[in-house]
Structure formats: structure tokens, C-alpha cells
């Protein structure tokens, strides 16, 4: 199983969906259209490619790219052939919503909750989308680079005591 083989299989199955692909450090990384991500992962899981272990789901925030501001990164693994693939979807800031993978992978449940908690990304079809690590009434999504991390919470510290 090689990067070229898998990329060709995906482009043959979904001719329109692959936006770009690269191989940083030898790992096949493709950006797909947001609406197709669930279909692509379903295909990778159930086809003869057998890329059927969901390693990770995580959010990403690029404030400097308005049309690709919020992203979700999926890592998948074929345990038998030890083949790894990374899938990315991006979306603008308004309407942050992607399909949930909980129907394909039960393990996606907590990962998507965490991604929602820290980035505010909504997962369509998730059964229980609420904060998992932060307190429920925190009031913001911490990993969005939107508030000044230090001054946002501190009210009474002397900066000179902390080397700032």
C-alpha cells in the first residue's frame, strides 16, 4: 500500500472531492470538500483499503485565512499494513458545521465533543454535543485565538513578579 495507490483509489471513487494533496514527512495528507468527509471516511473504512482505525479528530484555527478559517483534521490508520492517512476539511467562520462520524466510529464521540469544546465546531448528528473538558459555563472556546490569554483571566497579578 503506497500513498499514490490510496490517493488514486480515493480520486477514482470521488473524482470531485480532493482539493489538494501532499506528503509531509511521508504521510499522505489530503484536503477534501467539507460535505464529502463522511463519505470518504466511510469508503476508507469499508473498502478493501481497510483503513479502519480512527486515530484522532482535532480542530485547527487559522485566523489569517478567512475562507479556510476553521478546520478539522482526521487521522486514520490501517493496522494491518501500518498505513496512515491524514484528511483535512476547512470552512469559513460562519456556519461551522461538519458531519459527525459517530455512526461510523463510536470513538469519535468524545473526540468530537472535545473539538466542539475547544473550537466551537458543531458536528451534525452527534448525539450529545456539549463541553467535555472545560467547565460548562466557561463562555468561550479556548483554542480559538480570539481573546488575550493572559489578561483575559488575570485581574490582580503584578507582571514584574512573573518576568514579564
Amino acid at each position: 500500500m503506497t500513498n499514490e495507490f490510496v490517493l488514486e483509489a480515493i480520486t477514482r471513487e470521488f473524482p470531485e472531492t480532493v482539493i489538494s494533496s501532499s506528503e509531509p514527512y511521508g504521510m499522505l495528507t489530503i484536503e477534501v470538500k467539507k460535505d464529502d468527509i463522511k463519505k470518504v471516511i466511510h469508503y476508507l473504512k469499508d473498502s478493501s483499503l481497510e483503513i479502519n482505525f480512527l486515530t484522532d479528530i482535532c480542530g485547527i484555527h487559522y485566523p489569517e485565512f478567512p475562507d479556510k478559517e476553521i478546520g478539522v483534521v482526521y487521522h486514520l490508520h490501517n493496522m494491518v499494513a501500518n498505513f496512515r492517512i491524514r484528511l483535512k476539511v476547512f470552512m469559513p467562520r460562519e456556519n461551522i458545521e461538519v458531519d459527525s462520524l459517530t455512526e461510523l466510529y463510536a470513538g469519535a464521540n468524545w473526540m468530537e465533543r472535545e473539538t466542539f469544546d475547544f473550537y466551537g465546531i458543531k458536528f451534525k448528528g452527534h448525539p450529545d454535543l456539549r463541553a467535555i473538558l472545560n467547565m460548562e459555563d466557561l463562555g468561550y472556546h479556548p483554542m480559538l485565538k480570539e481573546y488575550r490569554l493572559e489578561d483575559g483571566t488575570r485581574t490582580d497579578k503584578n507582571d514584574s513578579m512573573f518576568g514579564r
Binding site: N134, M135, L138, Y140, P142, T153, R154, T155, K157
Partner: protein
Amino acid sequence: MSDQKPIIRTDAPAPDGFEGEGFFATKLSSVIGMARKFSLWPLPFATSCCGIEFMATLNPTYDASRFGMERNSFSPRQADMLMVCGTISKKLGPVLKEVYTQMAEPKWVVAVGACASSGGIFDTYSVLQGIDKIIPVDVYVPGCPPRPEQIIEGVMQVQALAESESIRRRDMPEYQNLLDSYNISN
């Protein structure tokens, strides 16, 4: 076997009062304060490195038992000195507050170390910037983490508080206002 006999000290200072032949009269609050001072029961609320230093305070080298705090209570029941040793995250804040409210009066709170006192180096979204944001604190122990000597110093300051405060202090409206400002019902 040592041939030293146990020494019973009879010259410990007595509280101020009136002394005469066969009687000694003093204020009730002085006696109560002295009793409280030497029977503080700590509740260790230890989350990180300061908790390890607190454990060292209990070991024979430093021997916190000398101060009458032999029994460490891992329950709010009958504990009267809350030792908050370590970083308190915002999510843990309500737990700490619950433990505090479950302790019976009188109670004292020691914030051990930079994190419990001010959030320490963790100026971040998840860490409570000092436990005095949610509960009243009597003594702050500086250090990151503080050495056992510093924790003992903090305990001795609590002892001074317990000895000198009036037994009516907690009935005063100022104390009620303090608790009200933290949304704690007494």
C-alpha cells in the same frame, strides 16, 4: 532502653487572667482559643507539587504533629483547617467550594503555594486565578512549591489566629457579609 523519664512541662504560658490562692479566672474565649490552637485538624486538599511538600511536612523530620495536627482528615467532617495545596482548575472550583461549605465552623483556610494563592504561572483559560476567587482565605503561604518550614509557618499563623480571635467573631455581621460576598450560606 532510655532512662530518661518523660518530662511534663508545667511552665507553659497561661492566658491572661486573675490568679489567686487556689483559683485562676480568665475569659472563656481565651480558654477556647487555646484549645482550638492546639487541636487544629487539617483537611489536605492536595492536587500537585505543593501537596507533596505538605506530605513532607507530616513526616518525622518536620513532624507537624507537634502542633496538635496529628490527625489529617480526608473528609470535611470535624476538620477545621483546609489546606489547599496546588493548582485548582476552574472545573475543580465548585468541588473545593463544596468541601469548604461542608466543613463546620470555626474553620480556617490556608492557600499553600503560588497556584492556590494566585494561579501561579498558569495564566490560562482553565486555571482558577487564586482560590480566594471562590472561598475566603486566612493565610497565604508563598513559594512554588513552599518548603515544609514555610507551610509550618503558615500553620503557626493559623494558630495565632485561632488563639486570638473572639469566639463571637463568626457571629459578627462582617463575617456574614464576607460569606455572602462569596455566595456561601452559613
